[in-house]
Symmetry: C2
């Protein structure tokens, strides 16, 4: 049987494999990209499910409207106003099955085969996969410590012209680097890009996992044109198993997103959405987030301590001020895949950095997740990884 | 902003509108395509959620593997063997977010822009939308009372040759016509199509909603080549709000489906899958199905009674032996959209048949759902519709 040509673009199974790595028993795994399961408020969630089934059982087990459960969209719009001072109407929010689906729908909406998508490098592999599935030509742009390098953006826009159909960025605590764009760069980016007719997908998966007092203003805060599509999720701040995320877009775009959501899966789970709405109304999600970010910050600190103590000084990183990851750089002639091979033999896992470069040019980096392992596991696993790195760098 | 060319193929909002029609208060609606919410086993489902959260809370709230929860896939494979005598391994089952997602993934796997898909006419609009989203050229084939007309299939295969990349069919209690293929036609179809290298999507959404003693053998029962991809769902036999469905395919295909599932939404909801598995282990789904099909059969009978009594004899239908729909045919010069306009004014809704013809050529039919309204509502709504039809046909 003959497959669509897109399948030739999708043979990279790095993400599939990464998810499987985390499932192996007695592995100390720094490869995950999700919150720590011990933080899931299981009892509160159970209470919400019971309340929803007791009071709205039939509705919760029926099809939901394509845009999603109205009350949940309203609560999300409120949160967007309260936390980020960004004003989206309830009708400018659609519930998606994880933010991955929002990325898939965005690719579907904007990409014809061969169209150019600009994105930060390295970047989230799931977005890369979603874009590849629509046979986009992926053009990676460099980032510096303040965010996307605007000169390179301008060069790419000049070079590819109208072929550029989408820009995909993660301004907060980026996956995989953990870095954030500065406020200044956000402003400059929006000022610059508003001269172009290109939509920007702002993936805010990690935005609320902030270790500092103030959240950063999202790109959509500066956007006056309705050019930014904002993608948020409860997978990182709450739990991923419900698959409840959302996409905010202005009305002209939203109408088209709804057509695609309908074609993709009719609607997201009614009961998961109602559970989430019930939780938001009866519990303090922000207090929960405060607690988990406190925990993750301590784990980040522990991981940095072990790196500083056990790793050779050639292994560098930038302190992440939120999110889930430390991005560790080895000397350029070293290959983190070789390090992974050795680490797996000692039951330690991480994701080699090359997986986050769709063109696969850099292989000397490691993505280390700090949210998922206990202090003891971080101490033990990172000590092993430090020794292996010392040995490998000495070769 | 410029949208992908697919959006030009997707401006038909009939399905979106149909779902909204059913949501209007005090409407007697025969437009739904789902089971009756009063049949949802709310208490049993609540019990399952509680058990899952008590015993597997962390796993249930985490990401699931891309293929889906192993135990659920095993239970589905067992059911496929017990009910249909079709042998799929656990690894040949992937859980999808509703069967709509299975159709979306199938379009994605096989369709390049301009490829030809053969399907029965009329057919399920959701599948048509999924295929349109990948810019397939949809070629409708006629059906007779035994199923797809094989001579027409042969003609289409001769005419379009290698451009034909997919065949989509609903052999059991089809949406919208309620008709089923005969056993003989199933055998002949598979014998015939096995000479071609074209995959067949068998949408079995209604298969278990059978009013007779024996389920029909699915096409996959006759398939020796691994050419048939089977799509099943709990949305019609249990409840749609969990969004738990499945797709069975042989290993060479499954590997590619998993890549697409991963790109689409990483994985389906872990808690919904575990709830479903828990229910299947602790309750008798077949007894539940027996009960709801008994109820639907009585409602079908009531609907047929009112049609026979109140409608002009020019309005014809074939008795559906399962499923959710009666397909009512008016004289060819009549337009069911006009009838709908009049019916809505009297708070009665149905779906005009033209919605199920992607090319929109026939407008003299109505899809009437009988699962969702009570006897009293069927009596009242169908009596009104009968009077309106008499009046309209007399003009």
């Amino acid at each position: 049987m003959k497959f669509a040509s897109r399948m030739e673009c999708l043979q990279d199974k790095a993400l599939l494999n990464a998810m499987e790595l985390t499932e192996t028993a007695d592995m100390i795994s720094f490869s995950a990209g999700f919150p720590s399961p011990e933080t899931y408020p299981v009892e509160d969630i159970k209470e919400s499910f019971i309340q929803v089934l007791d009071h709205e059982g039939k509705e919760a087990l029926s099809y939901c409207s394509t845009s999603g459960y109205g009350k949940l969209r309203e609560l999300i719009a409120e949160r967007m106003r309260d936390k980020f001072d960004v004003d989206y109407g309830t009708d400018e929010v659609v519930i998606t099955s994880g933010s991955q689906q929002a990325l898939d729908m965005s690719s579907m909406l904007f990409i014809n085969k061969g169209d150019v998508v600009l994105f930060e490098t390295p970047s989230y592999l799931g977005a890369v996969n979603a874009l590849r599935a629509y046979e986009a030509e992926l053009v990676a742009l460099p980032t510096d410590y303040e965010g996307l390098v605007l000169d390179s953006l301008k060069e790419a826009l000049d070079k590819y012209g109208e072929r550029v159909k989408l820009i995909y960025v993660i301004p907060d605590f980026q996956n995989p680097t953990g870095r954030s764009w500065s406020t200044e760069r956000r402003k400059e980016f929006i000022e610059f890009i508003s001269a172009y007719d290109v939509p920007v997908i702002e993936d805010a998966a990690y935005s609320e996992l902030c270790f500092e007092d103030r959240l950063m203003p999202p790109l959509s805060y500066y956007d006056k044109k309705g050019q930014v599509v904002y993608v948020g999720t409860f997978s990182k701040t709450f739990c991923p198993g419900l698959r409840v995320a959302w996409l905010c877009a202005r009305k002209n775009l939203m109408e088209n997103y709804l057509i695609l959501k309908n074609a993709a899966d009719l609607s997201s789970s009614a009961i998961a959405q109602r559970q989430m709405a019930n939780y938001l109304q009866n519990h303090d999600l922000d207090a929960h987030i405060k607690w988990i970010t406190g925990l993750y910050q301590e784990r980040r600190d522990r991981m940095m301590e072990v790196i500083d103590r056990e790793f050779p000084k050639e292994a560098c990183y930038v302190v992440p001020r939120g999110g889930l990851f430390i991005w560790l750089e080895l000397p350029e002639d070293k290959d983190s895949r070789e390090l992974l091979r050795r680490a797996l033999a000692e039951k330690v896992a991480f994701i080699p950095g090359g997986s986050f470069y769709p063109s696969g040019v850099k292989n000397n980096e490691l993505r280390l997740n700090f949210s998922n392992m206990s202090y003891e596991e971080i101490e033990k696993g990172m000590t092993i990884l430090g020794r292996l790195t010392r040995e490998y760098l000495a070769e």
